[in-house]
Amino acid sequence: MGLTQIATSILTALLVGALTRGMFRIYFLLALSVLAIYWFQPVVPLRSFDFWIPALSLALVILTWSITSQAGVWRSRPNFIGLSIIIALVTLIDLSRYILPDPILTATTPPQFIQYFLFAIVGGAMILLFSRFSQKWTLPVAIVLLITILLILKSPILSLQASIFFRTLAHRPIENASALDLRWLGFSYIAFRLIHVLRDKQMGRLPELTLPEFATYVVFFPSLSAGPIDRAERFASDLKKDFALTQDETLLAGQRIIVGLFKKFVVADALALMALNDMLATQVRTTGWMWIHLYAYAFQIYFDFSGYTDIAIGIARLVGIKLPENFLSPYTKPNLTQFWNNWHMTLTQWFRAYFFNPFNRWIRGYKTIPAWMMILVGQLATMLLIGLWHGVTLNFILWGAWHGLGLFLQNRWSDFVKTRINISNPRLQATMQLGGILLTFHFVALGWVFFALSDPSISWQVLMKLFGLSS
């Protein structure tokens, strides 16, 4: 999100928070989120894909809602209105190509109406058909579908193949195909929200949600591009509350937004100028400077991400939604477990709930596997998946493995210390605490080397340089 989009989001959120009540607030938020998903979508070189990608996001939302809801819920008034809002707005966006000289919401001209109409008919029919099958089948199939799309988008090789496929389909030259052609705004977050809902439905934990509540939860405009990943039932409970924007709420939200803007557009953007990157990694001449660029990256990524989160939380607050925190001073934590409990918290919680805990329960069934091995495999697998969520490339795998091994070693060390060393001296405790913070921060910072650089061989050279082992 750029400054214009943030400013517009703040203003519209203020108006919605101040002027709307009850179901109207939910409908307005849904409408704004539908418009935002189109406006925020970056331009892609494939014709009209900046229209089709948001349309697909909305189709997936409706599909997931329909298969997680009871049969016949379509006919209820809020669901009918919600569906009408979505269809009406998308149709209007498409029809704008015939009315306006230049597109206003989409980056390029939307497709011809007949194409959109066919898409809507075929998509609608498929959703209706799919939702008639048993949830025993549809829920896992939907999860596999979402993971497959995520895998294609996150893997450069698959993304490139997909781009070639679409270009061939559209009779466009394939020489210009690139892995970056399919930039799907916020899909990582959309997919994880949908998978959470699908898994909770499988487990019988999901409360019934109306389409406006469900769709607003998934594509809620403040958290569309950078999270946090809220839980559906918590989000819906905020939506259902009677909310009226007060002075206190406005001030608190304003404070949060200003802090976020400062973090993102002043601190992070300034640090970005000197943060470690692929080009800089090969140019830095001394060990000292390499550390400075690494520190700059560590703080840049924190201020950038947590700044966006502050902005999202602040804007959401204006409309009565209390999004969960995502960062709580992660660099001041004395060990890696605490770091991960406070860094991108909603993602960590998601993985804990939907992978780490079920995986641990499953692996405990194998009595022959020693406990330490279970911990190692559990930590490593979870962190590898978190790495892969960022991108299916070797550097993210290495980053995940780095943290997985780090968490395992910290777990073993904690166990060792707990049973053997009893530190009662407060000064020693404080020193240990400080040492832990410094050690954890530097471990995390060294991990960023893999994250920041696309080529692991350059990452290796940087690590060598950081320890004075190369010229």
């Binding site: 002075q247 300034a270 100028l273 000197m274 830095v284 400075i292």
Partner: protein
């Protein structure tokens, strides 16, 4: 009990503070904030002025001459009794487009320092990549406070046309300095030229000047990258070579009578701006032998205009008793890179040898 802030009060105070800050900022207009620099304190000074258009060059173009000088190594170097300080003034060929600092004219002179007047010559690169005599004069005028022993001013015909004098963005954005130069050196230009407009009060507010403030901060941040990498421009592996097949046109800035359209007054002011020996150098240029090279020497110059210019400057130098080096045809075509005036490292070395000899000769006299 703590008083709760009220939304209306917060908004009013915010607006008032914003207006007040902008109002106060107007009064800081004449404070040379650019002189406050992290260069030469935390980061080493730059070997040449900041100039660049892309983030990958760890460099930027800004218009604050104080900040440019403050970031230069010159501002952080104390002159020793053994140093013979030579300032090199000129355009991108002196600044060193496509050349590392060591490969530039200043770098080559310093790599093999010669003795002059019983001291060791140390050259400072004060070139700046736009072509205008007025821009050179502005830099020279500011540079003289740094105790030069000699100035070497490399220039070319393209810097001379009167209509080009204020075209350089750094000139156009330093209207106040240029007006001062016009008064100080009694230049023929008018202080009422639209380019030299006074900034109105609204134009002096923080909101209007935010770009200049941001540039100043970015320049300091890029200091870290300069210190860390020594990189201050992009060196592409491949680039388009200077044009040798030329247009048939014999036009030069729509000038018909060259002697009346050149800013000789600015040249004269520059030659007397600093009370030390100043060598005027007609810099080397590409003499092409491609299509229409019978009409034009290169992309910049038709033959008639350049020949007339050379003759005029030579006569002027003789009449004024200036130290003048006409090196226009010093280099073979192979020693030029992406422009008819940008030299290769070996070309710069060849030029450096000539300049070194000239410096020594003047001292010996």
């Amino acid at each position: 009990m703590q008083n709760k802030p009220r939304l209306f009060a917060v908004l009013i105070k915010t607006i008032l503070l914003f207006v007040l800050f902008n109002f106060v900022f107007i009064f800081t207009h004449n404070i040379p904030f650019g002189k406050l620099s992290l260069y030469n304190v935390i980061f080493p000074g730059r070997e040449r002025f900041p100039f660049g258009e892309t983030r990958e060059s760890y460099n930027l173009s800004l218009f604050d001459l104080d900040a440019m000088f403050a970031s230069h190594i010159l501002a952080g170097t104390t002159k020793t009794s053994d140093e013979y300080r030579v300032f090199l003034i000129g355009d991108s060929s002196v600044w060193g487009t496509l050349l590392t600092s060591e490969q530039t004219l200043a770098g080559q002179l310093n790599a093999n320092p010669v003795s002059a007047c019983g001291k060791t010559v140390h050259a400072y690169n004060l070139g700046y990549p736009t072509i205008s005599l007025t821009k050179d004069l502005m830099i020279l005028d500011q540079a003289k406070e740094y105790q030069p022993d000699m100035v070497v001013w490399l220039t070319t015909l393209e810097a001379f046309p009167k209509d080009k004098q204020f075209e350089s963005p750094i000139v156009a954005n330093n209207a106040e300095r240029i007006r001062d130069l016009i008064f100080k050196y009694e230049l023929n230009a008018s202080t009422k030229d639209p380019v030299l407009n006074y900034l109105s009060k609204p134009e002096q507010t923080f909101v209007s000047q935010r770009r200049a403030v941001a540039d100043l901060i970015r320049l300091q941040i890029y200091g870290a990258l300069w210190a860390s990498t020594g990189v201050d421009q992009i060196y592409p592996e491949d680039y388009e070579r200077a044009q040798t097949d030329l247009q048939v046109s014999a036009d030069f800035h729509a000038i018909t009578n060259l002697s009346e359209e050149l800013a000789i007054d600015v040249l004269d002011a520059g030659m007397h701006a600093v009370p030390v020996p100043t060598i005027l150098v007609n810099e080397p240029m590409l003499i092409s032998n491609g299509l229409n090279s019978d009409v034009r020497y290169n992309f910049f110059y038709p033959r008639w205009a350049y020949d007339a210019y050379r003759q005029q400057i030579a006569e002027l130098a003789t009449a004024q008793n200036w130290h003048y080096l006409d090196l226009w045809d010093l280099m073979p075509a192979s020693e030029f890179t992406n422009s008819a005036i940008h030299l290769t490292p070996s070309g710069e070395m060849l030029l450096a040898n000539q300049i070194a000899i000239a410096i020594q000769t003047i001292c010996d006299k």
